[in-house]
């Protein structure tokens, strides 16, 4: 059993009953094929790891933020190399794999904490949403900008947002595509602890240490009771995403993003 792993996109280490999963793929942990492969390695190891642990902390080592979402450049360039039907099949395969990873973390038999700073957009926001707790510093921003590309969130964001937030906030996020700062995210109940800039990981570690005081089996049972996983809606989301992916607006949106001369064109 590997209690330590050093990959190109992610690393993890187990210490004192806590697994720390670090995201470190520049520029901002965009999730593409490499990240997915290494996340799959992580979830394969998670069953064994979790027998020794009571908490998992996911955090980013990249200054720009937690995670800017899917690797849109990879998605666009790969889709251009294929016939449309092949591209959609490839997208569906990717989505099913990332859903499997995120569902595993969502249901993991330990308490999971996302320690957030900076940009937490799209797939990055979806990774945070599978965690039981989100601890964010005051510079964090959350968004689902997919609508700007003619898409909806595809990594399970909509069912999980609906699980956690009131419908008015969900509509605001999804229909405007705007980003919320961490203060607002805390006010609406998305973020459980709001901390000073640079303090999210420290606060997550303190929280994880606290969790270690409680009976592990009770915590696992309580989590199963409290936290339903919306499997049916998650599958529906994949179907809708693949349907939308065939629309011309999506190719145009992706092309605009990829061809932007800005390093990361994150303003709407």
């Amino acid at each position: 059993m590997t209690d330590r792993f050093q990959g190109e996109a992610i690393s993890w280490e187990l210490s004192s009953g806590v697994i720390e999963l670090t995201l470190h793929r520049g520029p901002c942990n965009e999730i593409g094929t490499l990240s997915l492969q290494e996340l799959e390695q992580f979830t394969e190891a998670l069953d064994d790891l979790s027998r020794q642990c009571h908490a998992l902390i996911i955090h980013s080592a990249m200054p720009a933020g937690f995670c800017a979402g899917a690797d849109l450049r990879e998605l666009y360039l790969r889709s251009q190399e294929m016939q449309k039907a092949q591209a959609v099949a490839g997208v569906r395969d990717f989505l099913e794999r990332i859903h499997s990873v995120l569902n595993t973390i969502d249901a993991a038999p330990l308490t999971t904490i996302a320690a957030i700073h900076g940009v937490t957009f799209g797939g990055g926001f979806e990774l945070a949403l599978v965690c039981d707790l989100i601890i964010a510093d005051k510079m964090a921003r959350f968004a689902f900008p997919e609508l700007r590309l003619g898409l909806i969130p595809g990594f399970g964001g909509i069912p999980r947002l609906k699980r956690d937030l009131g419908n008015a906030v969900v509509r605001d996020l999804l229909l405007t595509g705007r980003s919320l700062n961490a203060t607002r995210a805390h006010a609406v109940g998305l973020v459980s602890q709001l901390v000073a800039e640079g303090e999210a990981l420290r606060a997550a570690r303190a929280t994880a240490a606290q969790l270690g005081k409680f009976d592990r089996r009770t915590a696992i049972a309580a989590k199963k009771f409290i936290k339903p996983i919306p499997y049916h809606e998650l599958k529906q989301e994949i179907d809708l995403f693949c349907q939308l992916f065939t629309e011309p607006a999506v190719e145009a949106g992706l092309r605009k993003f990829v061809e932007s001369t800005d390093l990361q064109p994150y303003l709407p």
């Binding site: 510079m139 980003s179 700062n181 203060t183 064109p265 303003l267 709407p268």
Partner: protein, 80 residues
């Protein structure tokens, strides 16, 4: 009540301090992407700092086409 000029001054002070640019180099009507040498991610960072400083929320789509401090001050002032 805070005037829009005071809001403008506070924005430029904050931007100069955070991006380590001399305050004298900042002009209210010039392109701040160029004078601060920032990209859109850093502009979002600036937006967050301004929201925290003024205790307002400014949807990022309100920044569409905004490249100068004076217009930015107007958008923030409208939320005070």
């Amino acid at each position: 009540m805070t005037t829009e000029n005071k809001t403008l001054d506070e924005i430029m002070d904050l931007a100069a301090k955070h991006f380590k640019v001399s305050r004298d180099k900042l002009r209210p009507d010039e392109d701040f992407f160029k004078t601060l040498d920032i990209d859109s991610l850093q502009a979002l960072d600036l937006l967050t700092r301004l929201e925290n400083h003024f205790h307002v929320e400014l949807p990022d789509y309100e920044l569409q086409g905004v490249t100068d401090f004076r217009t930015l001050a107007g958008r923030i002032h409208a939320r005070l």
